[in-house]
């Protein structure tokens, strides 16, 4: 049970929250949605999606429910809970702050030091 939260893992959690915030999705749907909105730019190892999904559910940020998929098969659908919405909000804010901070650091030229 490694507790270390590396950047990628944290990012994946946030992306999943974002994906299901747009509407309930099953696991494969989450993968497709992330690939779609990232313009196929992100490479995610498919299997690692599930530990992340279960962890988010375990923490009460998403909820799951069995339902029917587009091709009429039984599938587990995930949706954002209220706690998850708050979590996504604060994660987004944190990410934006971090991103702009790092961006400004990287923009620094030698004259500015």
């Amino acid at each position: 049970m490694g507790k270390q939260i590396d950047l990628l893992q944290g990012t994946l959690d946030m992306l999943i929250l974002k994906a299901v915030s747009l509407g309930p999705l099953h696991g494969y749907g989450v993968l497709l949605r992330i690939q779609q909105i990232s313009g196929e730019q992100l490479e995610i190892q498919q299997g690692s999606l599930y530990p992340a999904l279960y962890r988010l559910e375990h923490q009460g940020w998403i909820a799951s429910e069995w339902g029917e998929s587009d091709n009429n098969r039984k599938a587990k659908f995930y949706s954002l809970t209220a706690a998850g919405r708050r979590q996504l909000h604060s994660e987004t804010e944190k990410w934006n702050r971090m991103a702009s901070l790092i961006a400004s650091i990287l923009r620094t030229t030698s004259e500015q030091v």
């Binding site: 049970m1 490694g2 099953h26 696991g27 494969y28 993968l31 190892q45 498919q46 299997g47 690692s48 599930y50 530990p51 992340a52 279960y54 962890r55 559910e57 375990h58 923490q59 009460g60 069995w66 998929s69 091709n71 098969r73 039984k74 599938a75 587990k76 706690a83």
Partner: protein, 902 residues
């Protein structure tokens, strides 16, 4: 809240594991098939699409395992497999498992049983409402060196009204009473208190009512409350018992209520539970007028006002005592420094058995330690054998923490099985153990295995598991990969690190054994000294019996009133006793040696004040002695030695000069420089009473107990100074059981209303008086023996293991020319060094803690040189023997065979 969500989710997983696992399976399959379908749409073949999907998904089992970890149930599953593996290991080594579980069961069982007694007697509050506010009240005269002196009605009233710290106060009279009117006259324990005694304790009757203000009578109330025991025994649990008349010491009393089962009077009683409860107003007949100096009350119990601490109440009482001393200087001579003391009621009831119980608890705790150290050693030996397994697991990627957890799970499993067996042992043997516990330990009827005891047993089991599991667990985590696999391959296991750990375990085990042995040695020596103690008389061929003449509240009801009435009874009693065939001599005493039969005694000694004629009254010397009333042949029956003067004769009776015989202690204390013969003394403070002349001196008799010394005694003639307490002593070669019916018949021929009780031999009485000491000495002695055995096994096991592990080395040495004596020395030395270290450590601890046992010792100092020499010598000898056996085996190693096998 997040924690709550996680916990709920965790519980859901634990509860629906199978369903959720299969759902996870379905979910993964759905993912793979959906993706494969998309790939097929892109033009791949069905088979190729599925293969591609699996590859991109990654290791399915790894991901599933990550899912389990992320919902926090992976360790749960691991625990399951660890337990499974642990059980398999235990079953694979039935010998080891049996030894470990058996010793644990004994250790935990003994601990649980002793703790259940400690819990009931010392820890649980008394079974009364707000029991922590109940206190015993003592009146002391520290200036005269006196504790628990009597007090008067006005002093009692001062406590109630003037002190302002008590919600309620009641005086207590405890004593024997004769119950007649049932099948057989019975001697019962009676308690008389105030009319608020029961409401103060907060008792609710099971039938009828208890005393209240409406029952108030200036003297004794004509009503009684009876115990549940008497109600069942004497009235067949008749629900209509209220209103019936009970005869107590000849007085007819109306029963108004029955106490609940389990109610016990919270005070000292002679031989059992109090059965009859009365109440008195203390202000009319038969009580004397309430004067401050008329001190007739013996014991007092009070309930403190709520919110008051003991210290606050004590401070207020001390201040009040000072005011009273100032206000009534004639009643409180300044040199006596009269004062009031309170103590928690529970403390006064159980304080005297606390040291014994704590020593026993300490002893069983040491035993559990020794047991777990022994098991630790066994496990460590096994862990060394498992180094290879551990190294392989480590190499395959197990984390060290994970391995420590597995080892700990295994030992916890063992300790919990042992603990469960221990609890079963305790439950099974508690009844037996309670029969061995001396009856003077209070509250034994409250002993039971309750949740507190079970929790304690669980705690002890887990602690032992931790003690014996931690060492091998940490050890296995430290396995150095490459060397372990290599060493393991070679079949040697005694690495230096493990070796040092095992040495430490053995040394601690020996040290614990020393502590136990020193404790046992001190207790056994005390016991031996007491048994060899000369009681000052010969207890063999003496049979004793007791009766109680009763003190009716109405003197007109008393058939043995006054000196002449009692003397007539005494003479008739003696005549009949002597007439019993086989009885050579008979005598009467008011107090049998070593029985502490007086409930009003403080620390077992009923001591009274007296005056000496030619001695100034203001003397600050504490003039106190125990007064014992005897008939002329008493010293002859007991074969006590008269040193000077004469014994009593039949002529020392009413109307003649009152006479007394003193013992050496009295002579030494009060007439250190003068001849006591012919001197005159007077008990009490009544100046109109005649003086009593000392006519003889006897050698000290241990009247109060073999372990009580130096109490001054004054013997007076029962014909001149009668007592209602009558014990007969008979010199006879017949056993008590044979004489009992005749004694009963003869006594009840004089008066069918007299109870006859405790007919037994004097030897038995002496034996009983040591029951408590014998119990603790035997128990601690047994534990010490067990400790020595376990320590010997430990040393033997360690060296035997070393010899077997190093047989290759030994063979090489011997092949290279080392003699057998060199090999013998090699191992013997190891054992001797370990034993020496353990013994020294144990002696140091013992020497610094032995004084804690001081109150349990008699005639032996806590640092008794004999004990402190014999114990280490004995243990050392055992250790050398236990080392010699395996060391000798080392010399028998055949180099050829050993080398070939290796």
């Amino acid at each position: 809240m997040n924690l709550l969500a996680r916990f709920r989710s965790w519980l859901k997983w634990i509860a629906n594991r199978q369903k959720l696992e299969s759902e996870m399976e379905t979910e993964v399959r759905f993912h793979l098939e959906s993706y494969a379908a998309d790939l097929v749409r892109k033009g791949l073949s069905q088979q190729e699409a599925m293969r591609q999907a699996r590859i991109e998904f990654g290791g399915i089992e790894t991901h599933k395992d990550d899912v389990r970890a992320s919902v926090g149930i992976r360790w749960w599953g691991e625990l399951g497999s660890d337990l499974h593996y642990g059980v398999r290991l235990l079953r694979k080594n039935p010998g080891f498992t049996a030894v470990a579980i058996l010793t644990l069961a004994l250790g935990v069982g003994a601990n649980t049983a002793i703790f259940s007694i400690v819990n009931a007697v010392l820890l649980r509050p008394l079974p009364f409402r707000d029991a922590d506010r109940l206190v015993r009240i003592y009146f002391n005269e520290p200036g005269a060196g006196l504790r628990a002196v009597r007090f008067s009605k006005p002093e009692l009233d001062d406590l109630q009204t003037r002190a302002g710290v008590f919600e309620d106060v009641t005086p207590i009279f405890e004593g024997s009473e004769n119950l007649t009117g049932t099948k057989q006259p019975e001697r019962v324990e009676g308690v008389n208190g105030s009319f608020s005694y029961f409401s103060m304790l907060g008792v609710i009757p099971q039938i009828g009512r208890l005393f209240g203000p409406q029952d108030f009578a200036p003297g004794f109330a004509p009503e009684a409350v009876i115990s549940d025991g008497l109600w069942r025994r004497g009235y067949g649990a008749d629900p209509n018992v209220v209103g019936r008349t009970i005869r107590i010491d000849g007085d007819p009393l109306t029963i108004i209520g029955v106490l609940p089962r389990g109610f016990r009077h919270p005070g000292p009683t002679v031989s059992g539970d109090a059965d009859v409860f009365g109440a008195a107003g203390l202000s009319g007949d038969p009580f004397p007028p309430p004067m401050r100096g008329t001190r007739i009350l013996i014991n007092g119990i009070g309930r403190l006002k709520p919110g008051l601490t003991l210290a606050q109440a004590q401070a207020r009482l001390t201040a009040m005592a000072a005011e009273l001393r100032h206000d009534f200087p004639t009643d409180y001579p300044p040199q006596a420094q009269w004062t009031i003391e309170i103590q928690p009621l529970q403390e006064t009831l159980v304080g005297n058995v606390r040291p014994m119980l704590l020593v026993l608890l300490g002893a069983v705790t040491l035993i559990v330690f020794i047991v777990s150290l022994n098991i630790a050693n066994l496990l460590l030996a096994r862990a060394s054998g498992r180094q290879q397994e551990m190294a392989v697991r480590l190499a395959l990627g197990a984390s060290r923490g994970r391995m420590v957890r597995q080892m700990l799970t295994e030992s916890m499993l063992l300790s919990l099985i042992g603990g469960a067996a221990g609890i079963a042992t305790a439950v099974g043997t508690l009844g037996f153990i309670l029969r061995l516990v001396p009856a003077n330990v209070p509250r034994l009827n409250e002993v039971r295995i309750d949740w507190v005891v079970l929790a304690f047993a669980l705690l002890i089991s887990l602690l032992t598991g931790l003690v014996f599991g931690l060492a091998p667990a940490l050890h296995s985590a430290k396995v150095a990969l490459s060397s372990a696999i290599r060493e393991g391959g070679r079949g040697s296991g005694y690495s230096t690190a493990t070796g040092r750990l095992r040495d430490v375990l053995i040394v601690s085990e020996l040290a614990f054994a020393v502590i136990l042995m020193v404790g046992a040695g001190l207790l056994l020596r005390t016991m031996r000294d007491l048994l060899q103690e000369n009681p000052g008389f010969s207890p063999t061929q003496v049979v004793t019996a007791n009766t109680w003449l009763g003190v009716p509240n109405d003197p007109k009801m008393d058939p043995y009133l006054g000196i002449p009435g009692k003397a007539t009874f005494d003479r008739e009693l003696l005549r009949r006793m002597k007439a019993i065939p086989g009885v050579e001599l008979a005598a009467i005493t008011s107090s049998l040696p070593t029985t502490n039969s007086n409930p009003n005694a403080v620390d077992g000694v009923a001591i009274e004040g007296f005056a000496i004629q030619d001695r100034p009254a203001e003397s600050s010397q504490d003039l106190r002695a125990e007064r014992i009333r005897i008939s002329p042949d008493y010293f002859k029956v007991l074969q006590a030695t008269l040193l000077r003067g004469r014994s009593f004769t039949e002529g020392d009776e009413d109307g003649k000069q009152p006479v007394a015989i003193i013992d050496e202690s009295t002579a030494r204390k009060y007439w250190p420089t003068r001849d006591p013969l012919g001197r005159q003394v007077r008990f009490g403070t009544d100046p109109t009473k005649p003086w009593t002349t000392v006519v003889g001196i006897i050698k000290d008799i241990k009247s109060d107990g073999l372990d009580i010394d130096g109490v001054p005694h004054i013997f007076v003639s029962t014909y001149q100074d009668p007592s209602k307490e009558v014990s007969v002593v008979l010199r006879t070669s017949l056993p008590a059981a044979l004489l009992e019916p005749q004694i009963r018949h003869e006594i009840q021929s004089i008066d069918p209303g007299l109870p006859v009780f405790n007919v037994s031999s004097m030897n038995h009485i002496l034996d009983q008086s040591l029951a408590s000491r014998r119990f603790s000495a035997d128990l601690v002695g047994g534990f010490a023996g067990l400790a020595v055995l376990l320590a010997a096994i430990g040393i033997y096991g360690l060296l035997a293991y070393m010899v077997s592990q190093r047989s290759r080395e030994i063979s090489i040495r011997m092949a290279l020319g080392a003699g057998r004596d060199v090999v013998l020395k090699l191992f013997l030395q190891k054992g001797i060094v370990l034993a020496g270290l353990g013994i020294v450590a144990g002696m140091v601890v013992s020497a610094s803690t032995a004084s804690l046992m001081g109150s349990l010792l008699y005639g032996v100092r806590p640092h008794d040189p004999a004990v402190f020499v014999i114990v280490p010598a004995l243990l050392f000898a055992v250790a050398v023997l236990a080392s010699y056996l395996p060391a000798r085996r080392a010399t028998k190693v055949d180099p050829m065979i050993a080398l070939r096998e290796a």
